[in-house]
Amino acid sequence: MRHDYIDRYARLDTPVHRLPSWCKLLAAVIMLVWTVVTPPSETWYFGGCALFLILAVIVARLPIGFVALRLLTLEPLVIGVAVLALLQPGGVAVMLRILLKSNLCLLTVVLLSNTTPFADILRVLRSLRVPSLLVTILALMYRYVFLLIDQAERMSRARESRTFTLRRAGRWRVAAGVVSQLFVRSTERAERIYAAMTARGWES
């Protein structure tokens, strides 16, 4: 169960965790939108925003190392996009802007997901009349992502234990095999889940 890191601290009991879920979700959404649309010249906003988020992390007693690790895990994507920005005129400024904004957004999301159980977020979405199909898909995704990670780990471990040469090409082939197997198994599981839902009265 190495993968419970996704929302390991969502069920702590601190002032931040005790805030109503809708309140946290609303604040997070406003902050995300605001961060994206604010021009980068407004340094006071970004400074304040960063300070606020860091304070919230401290009050919520999330270990700083854990939060940093979560950010780092997602960083390759951010850096990838930021580096692409270098190709245009004035690229350095754009890159810095992307780095700043994305990291603030990521921090917001990491903070939200580790102070609010996902089931509560879903409940808020449902009460906000978000289309139920969308909420159902989110719920199923959250439920099965752990299983999928588990299965992928077991399969690649099993493959690796029978792989004796460690050449790069061989590795890629192993990874491709795992991905395709995972796809097939997930499709089959999806069918079984659908049967289980139907058995308890689900009508699509």
């Binding site: 089931a119 439920r143 752990f146 599981r189 079984r192 889940i193 049967a195 139907t198 308890r200 009265g201």
Partner: protein, 249 residues
């Protein structure tokens, strides 16, 4: 009136491979019936017919009757309600983010009054001995706990017939023992498909032996399961608890 009656049911997989051939069986009200057979005998396929999930579209050959009325496309909703199906892999069945929502899924789909649902969920969880698990998420439960939550999710629909597919296959001995005593004490009619022959001997009064999609034989559990040549011929074995006991004693 039989709680469940299957008469001359046949079914082929979409690729044309026959899965069930002329299967007939029944279960009396409150009875516990076992279905045994090797891998690929058609047990799971048969169970999916018992609450109308199969056949998907084509007209069935043969008939399934639940509490006296035949399973037809129009009666599916009622059939899903009357027949509770416990799937082999608890992870397929626990699809909600929390235990509470999962147990409440059936009752809310079947349109039970919203105000009643918390009470029904609490009662179902109490029946399986998992009070206070409401807010837990399924991926933090042990195998035995998952299986019991699945059972609670079905009990919450208040079915007349319980159909269990390999209920003990993922459990450790303690989980298995607890589940067995839970099943034994349920009042509903029960159909158990399993390789766990000790469980079948322990719980079921009668068994059907299925192989190659056909019912090979049926009769009192102790009598069928202690027939060693028969068991071996169909990929099973005589349970230890019957090794030194005469079937009719």
């Amino acid at each position: 009136m039989k709680a469940l009656e299957v008469s001359s049911l046949s079914y082929s997989y979409p690729d044309g491979k026959p899965a069930l051939r002329d299967v007939s069986l029944y279960a009396d009200e409150g009875e516990c019936v076992g279905i045994i057979g090797p891998n690929g005998a058609g047990k799971s396929t048969l169970l999916l017919h018992l609450n109308g999930i199969l056949p998907e579209d084509e007209r069935p050959r043969g008939e399934v009757r639940v509490c006296g009325s035949p399973v037809t496309p129009g009666s599916l909703r009622e059939v899903h309600r009357l027949v509770g199906l416990l799937f082999q892999d608890p992870d397929d069945q626990l699809f909600c983010p929390t235990v509470y929502e999962d147990v409440a899924f059936g009752p809310s789909q079947f349109g039970l009054p919203q105000g009643e649902i918390p009470r029904i969920v609490a009662e179902a969880l109490r029946q399986v001995g998992l009070e206070g698990f409401e807010r837990r998420s399924p991926h933090h439960l042990s195998g035995g706990e998952k299986q019991r939550v699945c059972l609670a999710g079905i009990l919450a629909c208040q079915p007349r017939v319980l159909v269990l597919d390999e209920p003990t296959s993922d459990l450790d001995p303690r989980g298995r023992r607890e589940l067995a005593s839970l099943i034994r004490n349920l009042g509903a009619t029960r159909i158990i498909a399993s390789h766990d022959l000790e469980l079948v001997v322990d719980l079921c009064s009668r068994v059907y032996l299925l192989d190659g999609g056909e019912v090979i034989t049926s009769g009192p559990s102790a009598e069928i399961l202690s027939n060693e040549p028969l068991m071996l011929a169909h990929g099973l074995e005589k349970p230890h608890s019957l090794q030194h006991r005469h079937p009719h004693s």
